[in-house]
C-alpha cells in the first residue's frame, strides 16, 4: 500500500489545489508546496525502510485491474527505482519554490493550474518508476505526457504551442510503437504461458525466440530512445526545454527523460536479454554519437536553455552507453548518473532561469559580467556548471567515471572515444560561464540583473548540497543501487569480464 499511498498524496494535492478559487493564488502555491514536501518525506521514509541487501522488488503490491487482458495494478521498487523516486520527490518541491512566480504572467493558464499540473505530474512520475506491470507502466508513460504538455503549452515562452505540439507528437508516436510491441509481447506470453500477462517478473521468465525478441525490442527501444532522448530522435527536447518555464524544464529533463533510460535498464535488459546483447553494439555507437553530437551542438548554441538541453543529450549518451555495456560498473554508473543528472541539470536550469527571468532574454550574447552584479548567483551557476562537466568531487564525476571504466572493460574503443566528450563538456560549460558571467557588465545587465533572492536560494541550495555530498559519500546511493544492478545482470545472464577486477598487489 505504501507506493499507492505515495501516489495518492500528490494526487489529492493536485485536486485540492485545482479546487481552490482562482483568486487565492498564494494559498494554492502554499498548499501545493505542502503536499510536495509531504510526498518527499514519505518517499524518504520509504527508502529508509528498504532492505538494501536485496536486489529484488520490494514493497510489492498487486491488484487485478483488467483481468480479461491480464492487466494488474502492480507496484514495486528496487534500489534504482527508489532512488529515482526520491530524486523526483526532491525536484518537485524545488521546482515549485523556484517557479513561485513563473505562472503569474501567463496569458492562458491560471496560477493554481500550474501547481496542480506539477502535482499531477508527480503522481505519474512515481507511478512510472514504481510500475511493474508493463501495461501499467505504459499507461503512466503516456499519461505523463499530458501534464507536461499543458505545462509547456500554457505557461511557456512565445513558441510554446509549437514546442508543446512537437513534444506531444514525438512522444505519442514513440508510445504507439511501444504499444505495438507491447501487444506482441502479450500475445507471445499468451502462447507460452496459456494466458497473456504484463507482469514484469513473469515476463522475465519467458523463453522467447531470439528473432521475436529482436522485432519486439525495436518498438520498445524506439519509444525509450525518443523519451531519453537519443540522437537522432532528440529534436523535440531543445524546443521543449527552451520554451518551458525553468521549473518545467527541470522536471522535463531532470525526471521525465530518465524514464526512457530507466525503462531500458529496468524492462528491456531483463525481458529481452538476447535482443539486448544483439543490439548493444549498435546502441553503444548511437550513444557515443549522442555524446558528441549533443556536446558539439551545445557549444554552438546561442540560447542558454537550448544549450543546457543539448548538454543533457550528451549526458544521456553516457547513461545509455553505461547501460548497454552491461558491466556492473557501467550499470551502477548509469543508475547513479540518472540520479545525479537530475540534480545537476535541474540546478543549472533553475540558476540560469533566474538570470533569464531578470534579464528577459535567453540569448547568451545579452549577458556578460554578471559576477560583478550578482556574485552569489554566479557562484550557484558555477557549482551547477562544474557538476555538469563532472568535476572530481562532484557526484557526477563518480558516475561518469564508473560508466567509462565499465565501458572500457568490454568496449575500450567506445570508452576512449567517449572520454573526449568530457573535454567538450568542459568547453561548453566554461565557455558559457565565460560569456555570461565574466567580463564587463553591459548597461542592461547592470540595470536588470539583481542578486539571488532568499526564495531562489532556498530552492537551489539543497540541490548543490546533495551534488557535493553524493560526490564525497556516493555509497549512500550506490548501496541501494548495486544489489539492483546485480539482479539486472542475473536476468541478462551477463558476468563481468575478469579484467575489470585488478588483483591487489599485482603491480599492474
Amino acid at each position: 500500500m505504501l507506493l499507492t499511498t505515495l501516489m495518492l498524496i500528490p494526487l489529492v494535492g493536485a485536486i485540492v489545489v485545482f479546487l481552490i478559487p482562482a483568486a487565492k493564488a498564494a494559498l494554492a502555491k502554499q498548499i501545493a508546496l505542502g503536499f510536495a514536501l509531504v510526498t518527499l518525506v514519505v518517499s524518504v521514509l520509504m527508502v529508509l525502510g528498504l532492505d538494501n541487501s536485496s536486489g529484488g522488488l520490494q514493497l510489492v503490491e498487486s491488484y487485478d485491474w483488467i483481468p480479461a487482458f491480464g492487466i494488474s495494478w502492480t507496484l514495486g521498487v528496487n534500489g534504482i527505482s527508489a532512488s529515482l523516486i526520491v530524486m523526483s520527490a526532491i525536484l518537485v518541491p524545488v521546482a515549485i519554490i523556484a517557479g513561485w512566480w513563473d505562472a503569474e504572467n501567463s496569458s492562458q493558464g491560471s496560477v493554481k493550474g500550474y501547481f496542480a499540473l506539477i502535482l499531477a505530474l508527480e503522481v505519474f512520475i512515481i507511478g512510472v518508476f514504481a510500475a511493474n506491470d508493463l501495461f501499467l507502466f505504459y499507461v503512466f508513460f503516456e499519461a505523463m505526457l499530458f501534464p507536461i504538455y499543458f505545462l509547456i503549452g500554457r505557461f511557456g515562452g512565445p513558441q510554446r504551442a509549437y514546442a508543446a505540439m512537437k513534444f506531444l507528437i514525438y512522444s505519442l508516436v514513440g508510445g504507439l510503437f511501444m504499444l505495438a510491441s507491447l501487444i506482441g509481447l502479450y500475445v507471445v506470453a499468451g502462447r507460452e504461458l496459456g494466458a497473456g500477462t504484463f507482469d514484469f517478473e513473469t515476463l522475465t521468465t519467458l523463453n522467447m525466440d531470439p528473432n521475436t525478441q529482436k522485432l519486439l525490442y525495436l518498438g520498445f527501444f524506439f519509444a525509450f530512445a525518443v523519451k531519453a532522448p537519443m540522437v537522432p530522435f532528440h529534436t523535440w527536447l531543445p524546443d521543449a526545454a527552451a520554451e518551458a518555464t525553468p521549473g518545467t524544464s527541470t522536471l522535463l529533463v531532470g525526471v521525465l527523460d530518465k524514464v526512457g533510460t530507466f525503462a531500458m535498464l529496468h524492462f528491456l535488459l531483463p525481458i529481452f536479454p538476447e535482443a539486448s546483447k544483439f543490439y548493444a553494439p549498435a546502441i553503444i555507437v548511437l550513444a557515443v554519437i549522442s555524446i558528441f553530437y549533443g556536446a558539439l551542438l551545445a557549444i554552438g548554441q546561442t540560447d542558454i536553455m537550448r544549450l543546457i538541453a543539448f548538454t543533457s543529450i550528451s549526458h544521456f549518451g553516457f547513461i545509455v552507453m553505461g547501460i548497454f555495456v552491461m558491466t556492473s560498473q557501467g550499470l551502477s554508473g548509469s543508475s547513479f548518473y540518472m540520479v545525479n543528472h537530475g540534480f545537476s541539470t535541474g540546478a543549472l536550469f533553475l540558476a540560469m532561469g533566474y538570470l533569464v527571468s531578470r534579464r528577459g532574454s535567453k540569448r547568451i550574447a545579452d549577458f556578460g559580467g554578471v559576477q560583478k552584479v550578482a556574485p552569489i548567483l554566479t557562484g550557484v551557476v558555477l557549482i551547477s556548471g562544474l557538476s555538469g562537466l563532472a568535476l572530481p568531487g562532484m557526484s557526477t564525476f563518480i558516475s561518469e567515471f564508473l560508466v567509462l571504466t565499465g565501458t572500457y572493460a568490454v568496449n575500450p574503443a567506445a570508452a576512449i572515444v567517449a572520454t573526449f566528450g568530457i573535454v567538450l563538456a568542459a568547453v561548453y560549460i566554461l565557455w558559457l560561464y565565460q560569456r555570461t558571467m565574466t567580463g564587463v557588465p553591459s548597461q542592461e545587465v547592470e540595470e536588470t540583473v539583481t542578486e539571488i533572492s532568499k526564495r531562489e536560494l532556498i530552492a537551489v541550495v539543497p540541490l548543490l548540497a546533495i551534488m557535493i555530498a553524493l560526490g564525497f559519500v556516493p555509497q549512500v546511493a550506490l548501496n541501494y543501487i548495486n544489489p539492483a544492478v546485480e539482479q539486472v545482470q542475473t536476468y541478462v545472464g551477463f558476468t563481468d569480464p575478469e579484467a575489470v577486477a585488478v588483483p591487489e598487489g599485482s603491480g599492474s
Binding site: L176, L179, A180
Partner: protein, 522 residues
C-alpha cells in the same frame, strides 16, 4: 409450413416498428401544438422499453437444449421467425448498443435551446430554401415533427439488420433504416442546400450499394440455392470455389462496406456528415456504424465463415486502406465535421481489424470497440453542434481557436473525446484499440496492426492539433461561442463522457459482457 413467431425474442424490433406506425397516426390526428411532446415521449418510451426487453432476453435463464443455446451461456439464443432472424449473444449486444446510442441521440435531436429559431431541423422541409415561405414558417416557430416516425422506423430497421438471418430479411432491414436516414439528412435548418445535396448524394450512392447487395444475394442464391445464412454456410462447405460465389461475396461486401464507410466506399461519409443536421450526424456516425458492423460480422462469420481464407485478403486491403486514407485525409481537412468524418473512416479500418481476426476474441473486441466508439462519436458531434455564431454552427477549424478559454468545461470534455478517438490510455478508445489490436495479432494480422499503429500516429496529430487550437491559441475577435444547451444535450454529453471514461478506467464488466456474449448462432 407452420409459421412460428417468437414475440419475446423479437420484442425490441416489434416495439420500435409498432411505435413507428403509431407515431404516423399521431402525426395525422393530433393537433400541432401537442404533437411534439407526445411524439418525443413515445420515442423515448419505446427505446427504453425495447432496451428493457433486450436486457430481459439477454439475461433470460437457459432455454432449451444447452447445445443449441451455446453451452453454459446465459440468455436467449433462438432462431426466430421461421429462420429469418437469429437472436443470439452478439446480436443482442449490438441491439443494446444501438438502443443506448439512439437514446442519447434522441436527446440531442429534441434539443431546442441551441438554435434561437428552434431545433436542428428545417421548420418545414417542403418550403424552398431561402424562400418567403421558409421565412414565414421559421418566424411562426414551426417544428417538423415528422422526423420522429421516420426516426422510429430507422431505429427499428437497425435493430433488425444485425440479427437478420437471411439475405432477404437483411436487405429489407437495410432499406427500412436507410430510407428514413436519407430523408432526415435533407432537413438541416441552416445551410439547407448543402444538406439537400448531401442527402441526394447519400441516397444515390446508398441505392447503388443496396443494388450491389441485392445482386450479390442473388448470385449467392444461384450458387447455393438458399438465402439463409446457415444453409449458405453448409452449402459452401461442400462446394468448391466458383465465380458465382466469389462475385457474390464481393458484391455483398460492397453493400455492407458502404454502410460502415470503409475505403474505397467512403466518399459519401464526409459530405453527409457535414451536410446533415448535427444531431443526425451524431446518430448516424454511431448507430449506423454499429448496426452495419453487426450485419457485416454476421454475414462474414456465419454465412461466409467457411470461406474466410478467401475473403480475408480482401478485408485486409480494405482495412489497411481505410486506416491510411482516413487518417491522412483527416489531416488535410479544415472543417471540424469533415475531419471527424475522415476520422470515422479511419476508425472503420480499426474495427475491421477485429473482423479480420475471425476468432472469438475478434468478435468480442469488435463489439467492445463499437460500444466505446459509439458513445465517443455521439458526444463529439453533440459538442460540435454547440459551437455557433450568428449564422449557425461554426465548424471551420480556425473558428475553434481559444475555445478552451471561453468555455473551459466544454472544451475539456471535447478534448476528452478527442483523446478517446486518438486512443490515449485511460479512455475507452484505448481499451477498444488494445482489444482489437490484440485480437488481430493473435489472428495473424501483425502487418495490419503495424499499419494501424502508424495510422494512429498520424491521427494523433490532427486530434492534438484541435486541442492546441482550443487551449493554446488566442480566440479570434468575432469568434463563435459555446451555446449553453438545455438539460437534454447536457445529459447526452454527460452520458457519453461517463462511458468514455468508465470504459477506459474500469472496462472489465463490459469486457465480461462481450466475452460472455459468445458466438453467433448458426
Amino acid at each position: 409450413m407452420k409459421v412460428s413467431f417468437e414475440y419475446q425474442a423479437l420484442a425490441p424490433i416489434i416495439i420500435l416498428l409498432a411505435s413507428g406506425v403509431l407515431s404516423v397516426l399521431l402525426e395525422a390526428f393530433l393537433p400541432r401544438t401537442i404533437r411534439r411532446p407526445i411524439q418525443l415521449m413515445l420515442v423515448l418510451a419505446s427505446i427504453v422499453l425495447a432496451f428493457a426487453y433486450v436486457v430481459i432476453n439477454a439475461t433470460a435463464p437457459l432455454a432449451g437444449d444447452p447445445a443449441t443455446n451455446g453451452g453454459q451461456l446465459k440468455g436467449l439464443r433462438q432462431i426466430a421467425a421461421n429462420g429469418s432472424v437469429a437472436i443470439d449473444g452478439p446480436g443482442m449486444v449490438i441491439q443494446g448498443i444501438i438502443l443506448l446510442v439512439a437514446f442519447v441521440a434522441t436527446l440531442l435531436m429534441a434539443e431546442r435551446q441551441i438554435d434561437p429559431q428552434g431545433d436542428a431541423f428545417a421548420s418545414r422541409s417542403s418550403a424552398l430554401p431561402g424562400s418567403e415561405d421558409e421565412r414565414q414558417f421559421t418566424a411562426q416557430g414551426w417544428l417538423q415533427t415528422e422526423i420522429w416516425p421516420l426516426y422510429l422506423f430507422c431505429v427499428g430497421g437497425m435493430l433488425l439488420f444485425p440479427v437478420a438471418n437471411d439475405f432477404l430479411t437483411m436487405f429489407v432491414a437495410l432499406e427500412v433504416f436507410s430510407l428514413p436516414l436519407y430523408l432526415i439528412a435533407t432537413m438541416a435548418r441552416r445551410r439547407r442546400l448543402l444538406s439537400q445535396e448531401a442527402a441526394l448524394k447519400y441516397f444515390i450512392l446508398g441505392s447503388f450499394s443496396s443494388a450491389f447487395f441485392l445482386f450479390g444475394a442473388a448470385l449467392i442464391y444461384a450458387a447455393t440455392s438458399s438465402v439463409s445464412f446457415s444453409a449458405i454456410a453448409v452449402a459452401m462447405e461442400n462446394s468448391s470455389l466458383d465465380g458465382l460465389i466469389i462475385s457474390g461475396i464481393g458484391m455483398i461486401a460492397v453493400g455492407l462496406l458502404f454502410k460502415v464507410g470503409a475505403v474505397p466506399f467512403h466518399q459519401w461519409v464526409p459530405d453527409v456528415y457535414q451536410g446533415s443536421p448535427t444531431p443526425l450526424t451524431a446518430f448516424m456516425s454511431a448507430a449506423t456504424k454499429v448496426a452495419a458492423f453487426g450485419a457485416l460480422l454476421r454475414v462474414f462469420y456465419v454465412a461466409f465463415g467457411g470461406m474466410r481464407w478467401d475473403w480475408r485478403p480482401m478485408m485486409w486491403v480494405v482495412a489497411a486502406l481505410s486506416m491510411i486514407v482516413g487518417s491522412i485525409l483527416a489531416v488535410t481537412q479544415t472543417d471540424m465535421k469533415r475531419m471527424l468524418a475522415f476520422s470515422s473512416v479511419a476508425h472503420t479500418g480499426f474495427i475491421l481489424l477485429g473482423v479480420v481476426s475471425t476468432s472469438a476474441a475478434g468478435l468480442s473486441s469488435t463489439l467492445f470497440y463499437l460500444l466505446a466508439y459509439g458513445f465517443t462519436s455521439v458526444g463529439v458531434f453533440a459538442i460540435v453542434g454547440l459551437v455557433r455564431d450568428a449564422s449557425g454552427e461554426a465548424t471551420h477549424l480556425s473558428q475553434w481557436a481559444g475555445l478552451g478559454k471561453k468555455s473551459p468545461w466544454m472544451a475539456s470534455i471535447f478534448a476528452l473525446f478527442l483523446l478517446a478517438l486518438a486512443g490515449i490510455p485511460l479512455t475507452s478508445g484505448f481499451t477498444g484499440k488494445f482489444a482489437v489490436f490484440t485480437a488481430a495479432v493473435e489472428g495473424g494480422a501483425t502487418p495490419l496492426v503495424i499499419i494501424a499503429v502508424v495510422a494512429s500516429a498520424v491521427a494523433a496529430f490532427f486530434y492534438a492539433r484541435v486541442i492546441v487550437l482550443m487551449f493554446f491559441t488566442e480566440p479570434p475577435v468575432d469568434g463563435p461561442s459555446v451555446v449553453v444547451p438545455s438539460a437534454l444535450t447536457t445529459v447526452a454529453i454527460g452520458i457519453s463522457a461517463a462511458f468514455t471514461v468508465l470504459l477506459g478506467i474500469a472496462p472489465q464488466p463490459v469486457l465480461n459482457l462481450v466475452i460472455n456474449a459468445g458466438l453467433f448462432l448458426r
